[in-house]
Amino acid sequence: MEKVEDQNPQQEEDQVVNPWEVSAKDGGKIDYDKLIDKFGCQRLDQSFVDRVQRLTSRPPHVFLRRGVFFAHRDFNDILDAYERGQKFYLYTGRGPSSEALHLGHLIPFMFTKYLQDAFKVPLVIQLTDDEKCMWKNLSVEESQRLARENAKDIIACGFDISKTFIFSDFDYVGGAFYKNMVKVAKCVTYNKVVGIFGFTGEDHIGKVSFPPVQAVPSFPSSFPHLFSGKDDLRCLIPCAIDQDPYFRMTRDVAPRIGYHKPALIESLFFPALQGETGKMSASDPNSAIYVTDSAKDIKYKVNKHAFTGGQETIEKHRQYGANLEVDIPIKYLNFFLEDDAELEHIKKEYGAGCMLTGEVKKRLIEVLTEIVERHRRARAAVTDEMVDAFMAVRPLPNMFD
């Protein structure tokens, strides 16, 4: 039996992790072990990484190698089925609350693109414009516009249009999708949803009835134009771990309405430049590297705002070495520096005090600038017509090729 989280997260004095708030205890670090324990998901250990490498015949993604995607639910079932020749589809999404995307936002998409390429499976991407309209009090038009703008950055991550369907809730909810929403809604009591998401009597009914919208893309029958006749198809959801509550609810409901439970593969939070106290914030431009930042901006932000574990003076640094636990440049390199050997070397030298903070920052600036540059160029090739094509309700005949 799976642990279903019932306690109201806002009553806990320690860390708060839910889709709308992430904060650590006493302004410290997020305790991921506690989180896994509390949520009831599984650690993704090295054996999984090796298995993925074997099954896909290619090196595992840097996020897997470095434990960025570190937790899962039923990923082993997905792999077992895959080994038997049964494919699956991917489902991920974004809440389009702002036009400015930062690197933290791109992480699930970068990983999902890898999964699409490695396993050769189709992908649905949900843009929850309705959610942002409700939670951030945006107008309907504005949230739809943001959804389209965000879609361009998502497409720029390199998804294959012949295997990818992007949809916005305002456009797509209805028909088979809505039928599933009602089926899910019937299985979740008001008390339950309050318990999972922490709603109060003051919250409007839009919020309370939203969770099924994010739940049903896990079921292939929600997409009859894609998966008709394939009711048995499994779903794998790459997401950040704060989305877990939605899918705990979904997994609880799925067997009751005759569907497979979706599997999850979950990531850490990308730390803010100022340090590991929670998620990056779209409202503080210096807390994150944005995909629209110029090389100069990146250099400035890393040099001036990145929290480091280096010592206060060079002499002290040479003697004691850097504190890798809190050093942001090292953490960022952990996410984005592809070369394992080089990362090891930097960690060793920096930890011992031989390498200075300036050098580590310099390398980070190079790595980040390359990523942002590549993204910007790919983004420039995305037109409104391409967005229309990605979002068109159309069959994807080659989605498993």
Binding site: D117, I155, G158, F159, D160, I161, S162, R374, R377, A378, A380, A381, T383, D384, E385, M386, D388, A389, A392, R394
Partner: protein, 320 residues
């Protein structure tokens, strides 16, 4: 191909634009011109053909006694302090299709001058009429600024007048006030394989209504941000769908591969691997380029698919 003086005069008459014409011996300077038409009551113009470091061209047409400081102008355009200089004579002939000493706002009627930005002295508006060369140095025509506007509008140009003597500060919080006059040249980043030059839609159109589907003399509302490559579809004319250009795509791939190849072959690497250098380099190239090239290929594929999808949604089924 170039517009001639006679064609221009005929056109002005066709448009019922009021002007007077004065023939005189060929003149190359304002002083020389003044000898012949300086006493006729109108204002003489001096006309500069300028270019910036990114090979963008400008015609600056001013009253003869307006002080034009190229350094100030350069800053106001957002080109930095020394960004503007006089264009070469060859450019005059090739782009404006006029001889030396004959720069004139009328030269933008030529197709070759489509991307040339035109800055007009607001001092013209206060004059009853001003003198310009009608594409040839052996004649001057005088007309009111209003009439000049009528002509410019007829060729799809938006006449805008500027206080050329102003010297506003340009800094972090004060953007260059003339930045809109910098032409956004053909919107292709040379290293994007996919954006082949399509129809001549450039930058953002603001007044689509005044432009017919004739693309030739389209007024470029120059976007101040010349780096912006995103093409926004214009709803009036055909939207621009960047073509998936196989040629560009392949050039991009080859460029990257050869750049990497060249960097891999050095004295050191030759010494280190000698006979095995070929295999070593081949391996490295594959390793380094694999992901990069796959990404480029995906962009290409997505673009081609989008082209097909777009065509498909506008496909007319066979009539039975």
């Amino acid at each position: 191909m170039a517009y001639s003086k006679d064609q221009l005069l005929a056109r002005l008459k066709e448009l019922q634009i009021e002007f007077s014409q004065y023939e005189h011996p060929v003149v190359l300077t304002v002083e020389a011109q003044a000898k012949y038409v300086g006493n006729l009551g109108g204002a003489l113009s001096k006309n500069l053909f300028l270019k910036d470091k990114k090979h963008r061209y400008y015609v600056v047409s001013a009253l003869a006694d307006t002080k034009v400081d190229l350094k100030v102008l350069s800053q106001r355009l957002g080109l930095g302090k020394g960004g503007l200089r006089m264009a070469a004579e060859e450019a005059l002939v090739e782009i404006l299709k006029v001889p030396l000493g004959c720069v004139t706002p009328f030269a933008v009627v030529n197709e070759s001058a489509r991307h040339v930005s035109l800055l007009l002295d607001q001092g013209f508006k206060a004059q009853e009429y001003c003198f310009f060369h009608p594409l040839s140095n052996d004649m001057s025509i005088s007309l009111n600024a209003h009439c000049l506007d009528k002509f410019l509008k007829s060729i799809g140009r938006d006449p805008s007048y500027v206080d050329l003597e102003a010297n506003p500060p340009v800094g972090k919080d004060q953007p260059p006030d003339l930045a809109a006059f910098v032409p956004s040249d053909a919107p292709i980043l040379s290293d994007l394989p996919v954006k082949a030059p399509t129809q001549d839609s450039t930058g953002k159109h603001v007044s689509a209504a005044s432009n017919s589907a004739v693309v030739a003399a389209k007024a470029i509302k120059p976007s101040g941000n010349a780096q912006n490559v995103k093409e926004k579809p214009v709803n009036t004319v055909q939207p621009s769908i960047p073509a998936a250009d196989a040629g560009n795509f392949v050039e991009e791939l080859l460029d990257r591969a050869s750049a990497l190849l060249l960097s891999e072959i050095s004295e050191d690497s030759i010494k280190q691997h000698s006979g095995q250098l070929g295999a070593e380099v081949a391996n490295n190239i594959k390793k380094c380029l694999r992901e990069d090239l796959k990404n480029l290929a995906t962009i290409f594929k997505n673009t081609a698919y989008t082209e097909g999808f777009y065509a498909g949604t506008r496909y007319q089924p066979k009539r039975l």
